[in-house]
């Protein structure tokens, strides 16, 4: 680095500017092709601090012993279960919101992933204009802003399909529609890299189409199925727009809606505690997902690059 360069001679007027720059430490540091990218590194660390510290502070204050969300008054679990009236565990509304979020996430995952995986297999193998049209539709659903889909579903349910009730049923139908694209996109990417040779080999050896599918294709597809299930689960926990428009009353409001309703209305750290639990549920899902994913894809990793994290992230 620059410290190893000899002390610079005072710049002389007659020298060309490049030579002058090369002789000052800052100039030679700048011109050194192997210098470390200090500025970029600083920007990156500042960015990471900016993106993560506010959340870390919010988590920290969920353990505050007092009511403040900016003055630390000692550690306690008061806002999780200690407080008999206001903690997440004892306040019936917060408690209900927590379980409603988890319920929505579980049910949506159970419906969206099987339909999506079958959809992906079907679209991958069924060639022709019609299949192309449906692939296009899946991608379109993927990029449609949530507010458009949510308002549209609300109007559909209130005006046409009024046998569907707003609340849990309506929310699940809406969330599955919004999440369906993830398993389709993730599994199709995997199907493209698997190709059809393994199935052909299985059938050459006498397997029926159904056997080849069940014994060969589905096991090969399992990392993608798993990654998409984790993604859908964590994403539904965090969902706000669809879950709010399609809720019927306070009983079907998930955690995100509770946070939205009370964030500006003088909340207690119990709200931070609720948000922390929400964070925890999606993080647990993702970390478990990553561990299982790494196990499932043992031995097929790219040699270089970011390893399993990169592969897993590439699926997201």
């Amino acid at each position: 680095m620059s410290s190893t360069v000899q002390a610079p001679a005072p710049a002389e007027a007659g020298q060309p500017p490049e030579a002058r720059a090369a002789r000052t430490p800052a100039g030679s540091w700048w011109r050194n092709p192997w210098r470390k990218p200090r500025i970029l590194e600083t920007v990156t660390w500042l960015y990471l601090a900016w993106s993560i510290l506010p959340v870390a502070i919010a988590v920290w204050f969920s353990f505050n012993a007092g009511r403040s969300r900016s003055t630390w008054q000692g550690f306690s679990m008061r806002w999780y279960w200690g407080d008999q009236a206001l903690s997440v565990w004892h306040d019936p509304e917060l408690h209900r919101a927590l379980f409603h979020s988890l319920r929505l996430a579980a049910v949506t995952t159970l419906i969206a992933v099987p339909i999506g995986v079958a959809f992906a297999i079907g679209l991958d193998r069924w060639r022709g204009r019609l299949a192309q049209g449906f692939s296009f539709q899946v991608l379109l659903a993927f990029v449609t802003p949530e507010i458009i889909l949510a308002v549209a579903l609300l109007f559909l349910i209130t005006n046409l399909l009024d046998f569907i009730h707003l609340g849990t049923v309506g929310q699940v139908l809406g969330l599955v529609t919004f999440q369906l694209s993830y398993p389709v996109i993730i599994c199709r990417a995997r199907l493209l890299s698997i190709g059809s040779h393994y199935e052909e080999a299985a059938m050459d050896l006498g397997a029926s189409p159904a056997q080849a599918l069940r014994r060969v294709l589905l096991p090969l597809l399992s990392p993608a199925i798993f990654a998409s299930a984790v993604l859908v689960f964590a994403d539904v926990i965090d969902n706000f727009v669809i879950a709010r428009y399609l809720s019927s009353d306070a009983a079907t409001e998930p955690m995100t809606v509770k946070i939205y309703n009370s964030a500006r209305a003088a909340p207690t750290p119990a709200l931070n505690a609720l948000a922390t639990l929400m964070l925890l549920s999606s993080l647990v899902a993702v970390v478990l997902g990553f561990l299982v994913y790494r196990r499932l894809t043992r031995g097929e990793r790219r040699a270089a690059g970011a390893g399993a994290v990169g592969d897993f992230a590439g699926n997201l």
């Binding site: 993560i52 959340v55 919010a58 900016s70 193998r125 458009i148 109007f155 929400m278 993702v286 990169g310």
Partner: protein, 316 residues
């Protein structure tokens, strides 16, 4: 022998080419997904059109859809357009504001995300996995939680104001949350920047380092190498990233509600949300959604096409 080989050749044709499978086999897999999207994606969008071009029940003030396009009534859509672009333009400022905010926020996203993605992709080295985990982390933290964290920090007695008053940068605490455009734009940047960072990283990570070396060997400076090699190679990712952060920003209303709450910073999403929540304005809300869809359909199609192309090229 020859006949056997010919049969073999025929049999090893592409799976799905109709050699082994019944014609209905693969379409049957896609059927549930196709039906789901037909009823809960296509039909809702048509319902919004029918309501936007429909009438209001004179007695109950709820919107009445007109299903037949021949009988569509353009009153609501015309009213919205007049209020946006005509003389009585009280929706106009919100439209303009939305464009300005989204433009500022998405450009800031790009300016911040690019150096970060570039550093992690080129200089991440053995820590690339760690960086990647930290870059992905915000995806698994609910948007509401991240906004709540900033509400805590930006309160009048929050940490931002304490830092400002302690360092003497501000004489007295600033009320950041009373309708300041700066707060809303920074909230949007904070909320959507992960969607920019990851595609940029993925694209820059694929840039072959030997191309950069070749450029330097042939005498190009660092800056020239960046401008002539790296930047063109990441052009598609930049465009895709801009689209993918812009689309949800146009429909965002909760960032505004939590970080400002003032009509002085209301965006398009707020207009839609307010109209949906007000009895008698359902038709107008639907008309706003139709307008939003019309505005966003081109970027949406661009994104879908570029994704499809990238998938084809990446796997070919």
């Amino acid at each position: 022998m020859v006949a056997q080989a010919a049969r073999r050749r025929r049999r090893t044709g592409r799976a799905g080419g109709g050699v082994w499978y019944p014609r209905w086999f693969w379409p049957a897999f896609a059927l549930p997904g196709v039906l789901w999207l037909a009823v809960l994606f296509v039909l809702p969008l048509y319902t919004v059109l029918s309501i936007a071009f429909g009438t209001i029940d004179p007695l109950f003030r709820n919107p009445l859809p007109t299903w037949n396009p021949v009988q569509w009534d353009t009153t609501a859509v015309r009213t919205v357009l007049e209020r946006t672009f005509g003389d009585d333009a009280y929706l106009g400022p919100a439209f303009l504001r939305t464009f300005v905010y989204v433009l500022c926020a998405s450009v800031l996203c790009l300016v911040i995300a690019y150096p970060v993605a570039y550093f992690v992709a080129r200089y991440g080295g053995r820590r690339k996995g760690l960086f990647l985990v930290l870059l992905i982390a915000p995806f698994w933290i609910s948007y509401m939680m991240r906004l709540l964290a900033w509400v805590n920090l930006l309160q009048t007695d929050g940490w931002v104001n304490r830092a400002l008053t302690a360092t003497g940068l501000a004489g007295q605490p600033i009320n950041w949350l009373d309708g300041r455009p700066v707060t809303v734009v920074l909230g949007l940047v904070y909320g959507y920047i992960p969607y920019m960072t990851l595609p940029l990283f993925a694209s820059l990570d694929r840039v072959d380092p030997s191309l950069l070396e070749a450029s330097r060997d042939l005498g190009a400076s660092r800056l020239r190498t960046f401008l002539r090699v790296t930047l063109p190679l990441s052009r598609h990712a930049i465009l895709a990233g801009m689209v993918i952060v812009t689309l949800p920003m146009f429909g965002d209303y909760f960032t505004n509600d939590l970080l400002s709450g003032s009509p002085g910073t209301a965006m398009l999403g707020n207009l839609v949300n307010d109209a949906i929540g007000t009895p008698g304005q359902g038709t107008q809300g639907a008309a706003l959604v139709v307008l939003l869809m019309t505005m966003l359909v081109l970027p949406m199609l661009y994104y879908v096409r570029s994704t499809a192309r990238a998938t084809r090229e990446g796997r070919a």
